[in-house]
Symmetry: C2
Subunit: 397 residues, 2 copies
Amino acid sequence: MTWLDLSPDSLFGLANLPYGVFSARRRPDPGIGVRIGDSVLDLTRVLADAVFAEPSLNAFMAQGRGRWSEVRAQVSEMLTAERHRSAIEAALYPLSGVRLHMPFTPGDYADFFGNEYHAANAGRIFRPGAEPLSPNWKHLPVGYHGRSGTIVLSGTPVTRPRGQRKGPQDSAPAFGPSRRLDFEAEVGWVIGTGSPLGTPVTVGEFADHVFGAFLLNDWSSRDLQSWESQPLGPFLAKSFATSISPWIVPLDALEHARISPPPRDPEPLPYLADAGKWGLDLALEVRLNGHLVSRPPFATMYWTPAQMLAHLTANGASTRTGDLYASGTVSGPDREQRGCLLELSWGGAEPLTLADGSVRSFLADADEVSITATGPAPGGARIGFGEVAGRIDPAIG
Amino acid sequence: MTWLDLSPDSLFGLANLPYGVFSARRRPDPGIGVRIGDSVLDLTRVLADAVFAEPSLNAFMAQGRGRWSEVRAQVSEMLTAERHRSAIEAALYPLSGVRLHMPFTPGDYADFFGNEYHAANAGRIFRPGAEPLSPNWKHLPVGYHGRSGTIVLSGTPVTRPRGQRKGPQDSAPAFGPSRRLDFEAEVGWVIGTGSPLGTPVTVGEFADHVFGAFLLNDWSSRDLQSWESQPLGPFLAKSFATSISPWIVPLDALEHARISPPPRDPEPLPYLADAGKWGLDLALEVRLNGHLVSRPPFATMYWTPAQMLAHLTANGASTRTGDLYASGTVSGPDREQRGCLLELSWGGAEPLTLADGSVRSFLADADEVSITATGPAPGGARIGFGEVAGRIDPAIG
């Protein structure tokens, strides 16, 4: 189907075609590329549109859904029709030779808490004896705003945060390096076409506004979090860094992964009623120092990304190109499907033994966390998300 | 002291000189001006620096504290020395003839909860029977991130938000227009010089980073808030609109307003220890449909803006030019000093009667809220903040 020498089990075949921002030695200014196999196609070389020479996807994303489809079709055509071969080959860079950059300029960042297994586990651990889920949880996708200025690209080291922590046995809080540093495996969504103030985006309009998906690690300090969160929610426990994967998978590439979400009881209010089928059968994997520690199944998400966007804008809040939101930690019913160490070690009560014999309740300095994901594509193939990875640097000072 | 015909009790005399962004019929592109009395001085006409031709203060703010002082001194000189008179007069626009614009491009927006009277009243109203203040409250400035994309300029109408609400007597939540819409009178701070990831801004470095202050109305829907806020804090209850005043008062103009903050017990941890004296003796006034309903005293703030910035960055979070943060609702010990209707009407239990006989527990459609503030200046004079005002439009749909 393509003149490219592409392994049939490549996660970055023609069914995927994610967008990113890259530079290379003979192409020093960052511009937009499409990943195909282990190569990057330089769009500035093959498509005459100045948006591809921008150092972020924002201008292209703002062009809207019609243009996204058009470009995807053109790229697909160029990668398959033999007549384009020599022109395209000249515009391909081996992935190993490029530097990847932040794919888009983030606007507002909202993070949800939309997975029932994670929410219930977190409730049991943080509020033992109380109902695991708050009374609102099955009525609306609970969320909060995070800090967009500290969103970093995969590979950026994450410095262990310092902050106030106070355990139940401590008489007073102390300030110092977090002792309960965690990852959270999530899927994120970026707004391509914004929506004006006062105009909610309905569940059915999801695909008109969201450009694509990526992986996100919402690094979290559990000791800071449990002390600071009353009554206004997490703040410094999550604002020190949020890592995202470099490749934005277009919604069109997720068509084959769409499934019905789990049954919801009670029925959501009409403004959250499903329109289209935006559950997604994505398989996440989390590795800690190379050892597989979890396989969170995105199919278990209680709230879909379409419902999250409808909720986010139901009060009339506007959205802008580059605004992003994320699913919240993805977990499943089994222990080895839990998407964060808080759950995997049950708040530290059941430390995890890695394959190399090392034991972890929370992250140690120099630990490296990597999150990947794949989903079904036509013909039994699979598509992949770029990895989001980060290593913990020791606290400063 | 100045050749300008300026009333000695003007709130916008030489001691103030706040910055804003304006346009006028014969100056159609927005640029930077300084308010003096009831006029605006067009900085592009009198200072040769391209930053003043920008439609936001961001580029000027990024030049840093040394440059801020230099420009303030130059403007002051031009407005006093007779030899500049004809050149300056040609660059002055009557305030009544200009249009004001958003003064800066907002980055991240964090809102604090730093006033003890407000926090304790809110605790008593939202969580009757429990301790009014959460256990962390006197140890750290509690805060959360808000939505920066819905920050609007004073004068922008605010549409009543719709959302999920569920009273204690309701068996299930319903979706509809908020019934408990409120204002919150706050003071905001904008970052001029950012700080890199991993480098906290100490309490003593406050004035090197913060460019100036303004007034902020953190419109809040109390019915949405009480239903949605567990466990991650307020989200849609506050993300529909946040209004700011058009004039940014430089820190130098607040020198004379500086006072010691109230005594703190327990002593804050060392990273929050006072350095400099950043309590501020500002007098706020809140008007509802023209009737004075509250006089919140900023001098009662438990946490200073210098402590707030130190806390915000203590975990290593970076800041950028244009990032803003706000004090939280300003209240005082007396009923007529409470900075929001939640407190003024005690959650609706004690409705407020305005001077025209109308009664309010929360905001009605077409209500107009205006917040102003003044502070002491040398020689018994006072400086003023620009008003932040907004009218409630009915919910859509």
